[in-house]
């Protein structure tokens, strides 16, 4: 019997996420930074700064929250499963 291959720890998971931010729409509210501080930051003028456009799976929930609560709808997620 051959064991099914599993992904090694630390490796990007099999369900990648790609984050797109619309800088023109961004209103600088900072709610993404509060929801997912490891993925989003703000420039000095408040506009979003994406720290990781393809974050690991343990951050996906926080990133989905950030996208959902963005008051300007400036965060789009591309997810495949």
């Amino acid at each position: 019997m051959t064991p099914r291959p599993t992904s090694a720890p630390g490796q990007k998971a099999s369900s990648p996420m790609r984050i797109l931010v619309d800088l023109d729409k961004c209103c600088g509210a900072g709610s993404c930074v509060l929801a997912a501080p490891r993925v989003f930051d703000q420039r000095d003028d408040g506009i979003v700064l994406l720290l990781d456009e393809s974050p690991p799976e343990d951050l996906h929930k926080a990133v989905r929250e950030a996208a959902a609560v963005c008051p300007a709808s400036a965060i789009t997620l591309e997810e495949r499963d």
Binding site: K25, C27, G28, A29, G30, S31, V33, L34, A35, P37, D41, Q42, D44, D45, G46, I47, R64, E65, A68, V69, P71, A72, S73
Partner: protein, 404 residues
């Protein structure tokens, strides 16, 4: 004008049964009449929106302007001078092309990083206010003791205003936000005194700059971006008016909602990590957020399948949208763990509240410290006897009596 409520015109804002409960009409309006004809305190007509999706659409669309000084726009108050919404000079700064560059200048002071750097000072402020309240003994008015002074202290800090002038600022902001509580004469006097005070403050910051927003804005030299003295005063006024009453009232309402049902307070005592989501849920669940956001239509538009002609004034009831079952599961239940919680308490779109991270942090700080310091905190009156504040653009409670 297209409306399905020709049989009845509601008076806006709609009366609510008690301070923490929503007007019963909301459910029906969202269901059957999402664009409803209403009459404002001025006697002028407007269309009221109650659904989450419609309000989000309107607030995100630049054709719906914030300039209520425009010809034909409804007057929101019965006062001659109109309310904070109807100042043409201020409107020029915060709408249209000038808005974005202005917003980015001011935004610098409201980023998550800036606000988190203020957190320590905020904790010191709340602790000292709670110390005073505890020293005077129970029962105490949580609103007068903590909720009302705290946000004005924070704004004074932000604007570089000395501690001894905090009370003056609190009075002016209270008066400038009035719809019916003060006479036009009192409102005009408050405006004038505030402007004179700020003019002198700006002069003193020009000579002795400090680590504050006014000093920083004075250093902007770029021709296109630089603010005139008048614009600086409007900026300070806007921050005070938008950041004081709103947050003060929300502190009172949040605490009242959380203490009205002991299970909520117990849940937070057991798991203080819920403070963040609990604050968001309090913002969503607040049925008494006040006037909502007005918009003026410069073009014909379609909302919820209704054609709405240009020249219409819309009022977006943010609280009604936050209870919309189409947007939130079990919208009528307060769930302190709700995630995500894309409520509209701070508006949405390009004009979404610039100070929302500040407000969130202030609310979280108050809640965290009250849980830690006064775990036995309880309302000293039954929830349905909580007295409401009336006559202001922002809804709130007159008093939140507590014991511990």
């Amino acid at each position: 004008m297209s409306t399905d409520t020709d049989d009845q015109v509601l008076s806006y804002p709609l009366p609510a049964p008690s301070a923490l409960e929503p007007p019963p009409e909301w459910v029906q309006l969202r269901e059957r009449c999402p664009v409803a004809h209403v009459r404002l305190a001025s006697g002028d007509s407007a269309m009221m929106l109650t659904r989450y999706a419609d309000i989000r659409q309107v607030l995100s669309d630049p054709r719906f302007t914030r300039d209520l000084s425009a010809d034909g726009a409804a007057r929101t108050t019965a006062n001659e001078g109109g309310s904070a919404f109807e100042n043409a000079e201020a409107a020029a700064l915060v709408s249209g092309e000038r808005h974005q560059s202005w917003r980015r200048l001011v935004m610098k002071w409201f980023t998550a990083k800036q606000i988190l750097a203020m957190q320590q000072r905020m904790e010191t402020m709340v602790n000292s206010l709670v110390d005073d309240m505890v020293a005077k003994g129970a029962p105490a008015d949580l609103l007068a003791s903590v909720g009302f002074p705290f946000p004005v202290w924070v704004i004074c800090d932000l604007l570089g205003i000395p501690d001894i002038d905090r009370d003056k600022l609190a009075y002016w902001s209270n008066t400038m936000l009035s719809m019916t509580q003060y006479t036009q004469q009192e409102i005009d006097a408050a405006q004038l005194e505030f402007r004179q005070y700020m003019t002198a403050h700006i002069t003193s910051k020009r000579d002795n700059p400090g680590p504050d927003l006014i000093s920083e804005l004075l250093t902007v030299v770029d021709e296109g971006q630089r603010l005139t003295e008048q614009e600086l005063i409007f900026t300070a006024q806007g921050i005070l008016v938008a950041g004081h009453e709103t947050t003060s009232n929300m502190i009172g309402k949040m605490m009242a909602m959380l203490l009205a049902d002991r299970a909520r307070w117990e849940q937070l005592l057991q798991d203080p990590a819920l403070v963040r989501t609990a604050v968001e849920e309090a913002l969503r669940y607040d049925a008494n957020s006040g006037f909502g956001l007005p918009r003026f239509l410069t073009h014909d538009a379609e909302i919820a399948g209704h054609s709405v002609p240009r020249g219409t004034t819309l009022v977006c009831s943010l609280s009604a949208a936050n209870r919309d079952e189409r947007a939130f599961e079990r919208a009528d239940a307060m769930d302190l763990t709700r995630t995500p919680n894309p409520h509209l308490a701070f508006g949405a779109g390009p004009h979404s509240c610039v100070g929302q991270t500040l407000a969130r942090t202030e609310l979280q700080t108050v809640l965290t410290l009250l849980l830690r310091r006064l775990p036995t905190l309880a309302l000293a009156v039954p929830p349905d006897a909580l007295p409401r504040r009336t006559g202001l653009l922002v809804g709130g409670l007159e008093q939140v009596l507590v014991r511990w």
